[in-house]
């Protein structure tokens, strides 16, 4: 029997943290929007693609890394607020199914629009002009600097989100509206503002995730948001959709599952494993790991 390789396990753990934190950032957007207006916002994944292209174009036009990142994040926020205004707000009182179909439609629209503008071919992302990837050594362990920065920035963003949601006026309104939209309205809360705020928060996090993702996998194409968005959506459901800590737990779970499966040599089976985990968790806890049991409203 050969010796247990702790170094390998540790570096895979770090990789899991990196991938997990990207998924967590994105699944927060799914979860928050669902918590407020009960909409599975499938266009959220494509916001990542939008962020990727905005960053790419800004860098190619010789804006600095900071400005490019700023453009990407605020671009994601603006686009998602526009989507909410134009596509979801008119359907606020329509059935949930119509809203869901609209979300899928918006997703297809964004993918095809990107294809029209940038063609279907992927473009290399100049990752090194945003984050130089240096090898860092901790004792015997090699770690990429991008990995460390991704993890740190994700954790900082999540902490900031927690402060926003628990300590600000809009955050308090957000939590109230997510529990009961109608009585929130009767308390004088402006729900339009709260919903826009939620979309801005979710898509800014997706913008950050998009930069992190592109720095690790430097290729931008019109459908890049689809699969990563799908995985983040699974993460949100796994953690209990509508719950902010749930989205984080779900994101890291999916990240670790993927890294574990590829580390033991079944990288072709990653997606199978992710969906299998989802099915198993939902069989045991249908409302997700940290989800609330939905009670019937009278």
């Amino acid at each position: 029997m050969h010796r247990f390789n702790w170094l390998l396990i540790f570096s895979q753990f770090i990789n899991g943290l990196q991938l997990g934190s990207i998924y967590a950032l994105i699944s927060l957007g799914y979860s928050m929007v669902y918590g407020i207006i009960m909409l599975l916002n499938f266009a959220h994944g494509d916001i990542i693609m939008v962020g990727g292209y905005i960053a790419l174009i800004s860098i190619l036009n010789r804006f600095g890394p900071f400005i490019s990142v700023f453009f990407a994040i605020s671009g994601c926020a603006v686009i998602s607020v526009l989507i909410e205004r134009l596509a979801y707000r008119p359907l606020r009182k329509a059935s949930k199914t119509s809203l869901l179909i609209t979300a899928i439609g918006v997703s297809i629209f964004l993918q095809n629009l990107a294809q029209l503008i940038f063609s279907a071919n992927g473009r290399p992302f100049p990752a090194s002009s945003i984050l130089k990837n240096n090898k860092m050594r901790f004792g015997k362990i090699n770690v990429n600097s991008v990995t460390i920065i991704t993890i740190l920035i994700s954790i900082i963003s999540m902490l900031l989100l927690v402060i926003l949601v628990h300590k600000t006026k809009l955050g308090k309104a957000m939590r109230a509206v997510s529990e009961d939209l109608e009585s929130g309205q009767l308390m004088g809360i402006n729900i339009d503002k709260v919903i826009s705020f939620t979309f801005i928060l979710g898509s800014s996090l997706a913008g950050i995730a998009s930069i992190m993702f592109c720095c690790q996998y430097p290729l931008v194409n019109p459908t890049m948001g689809y699969m990563i968005g799908m995985k983040a959506f699974i993460a949100a459901v796994l953690g209990g959709i509508g719950s902010i800590p749930g989205a984080v737990v779900g994101g890291f779970t999916i990240g670790f599952v993927e890294i574990f499966v590829s580390a033991i040599g079944f990288s072709a089976w990653i997606d199978v494993a992710v969906f299998a985990v989802l099915i198993i968790v939902l069989l045991i806890r249908p409302f997700g790991i940290l989800g609330r049991r939905l009670t019937e409203k009278v």
């Binding site: 900031l160 006026k169 309104a173 109230a176 009961d180 009585s183 009767l186 308390m187 004088g188």
Partner: protein
């Protein structure tokens, strides 16, 4: 203890010298072919406690939903503090001075008791995101002020000791009381109570009666309540309206209502000749 007019100083300017807090003229609503409420007329003056009674399905809660603009009336006009409510939505109705509780409790269940009240105080917080994140002195000042106000409100029902409990962990009666406090936090000029005594035992109901009067006195607001408990309605209301099949069949003082043959008929049916 609550002194008369204690909370009055916090009332917004709008409440001075209005003719009526609520005035409805010929209000009605149809759901498809069903006429749920028809030709509803009522006038509630400042600091009046008014009761709305009627058999099940008479349209009492529908009236509440009309007043708070959850539903838009098909016919008629409503005035809130002498302002026409035609173009208002429920947010604006709340801001113009109407607040309510629900028949089935609708608190923010996973938030603490004090947070529920703070949501009611939402519109008084004037602290931006930037100030809140970086915890500038303005944030602490506004936070202290609002917390103090919330505690003051909680003390009406002696609930300051449970301020940090999750609201769904409270007893049923306390949840009802908290809902009233949350509604009061939005500084209404009229408070609508939808079956406030439902699920309360008789001693709790007596206490609630006292509290309803106390709230009227100390806040100087009008109260409109739906209730099936006749002891409460007769004991606390100054005027009573009776709804049957969506129509207001009688209006008057408790004594007049008790002796009104039309009301007796609606509740008990017609005596055989």
């Amino acid at each position: 203890m609550i002194v008369r007019d204690m909370h009055k100083s916090i009332l917004p300017k709008r409440d001075q010298n209005v003719k009526a807090v609520i005035e409805c003229k010929g209000v009605g609503i149809d759901f498809g072919g069903l006429c749920a409420v028809n030709d509803f007329n009522i006038l509630i003056k400042k600091e009046e406690i008014c009761g709305l009674i009627g058999p099940n399905g008479a349209g009492k809660t529908t009236v509440f939903n009309l007043l708070t603009k959850v539903y838009t009336p098909t016919r008629g006009v409503m005035y809130l503090n002498d302002k026409n409510t035609k173009s208002m939505n429920s947010i604006e109705a709340n801001q113009s001075g109407i607040a309510r509780t629900f028949q089935n409790i609708r608190l923010f269940k996973n938030m603490t008791v004090i947070e529920n009240v703070l949501v009611g105080l939402h519109n008084e917080e004037n602290c931006g995101i930037f100030e809140s994140i970086f915890r500038l002195s303005k944030y602490w000042r506004s936070e202290d002020l609002l917390k103090k106000r919330a505690m003051e409100l909680l003390s009406i029902f002696g609930m300051t000791n449970v301020a940090d409990h999750i609201s769904s962990s409270l007893s049923y009666g306390s949840q009802r009381r908290l809902e009233i406090i949350r509604a009061l936090a939005t500084r209404p000029s009229i408070l609508l109570l939808d079956e406030p005594a439902a699920g309360m035992n008789s001693s709790e109901t007596v206490e609630l009666m006292e509290n309803i009067k106390k709230i009227r006195d100390s806040f100087g607001i009008a109260i409109l309540l739906i209730e099936h408990d006749m002891n409460l309605v007769m004991g606390v209301c100054e005027t009573i309206g009776v709804l049957n099949y969506g129509v207001l069949i009688a209006k008057g003082t408790p004594r007049e209502i008790q002796n009104n043959p039309v009301v007796v008929e609606a509740y008990l049916g017609k005596a055989k000749e």
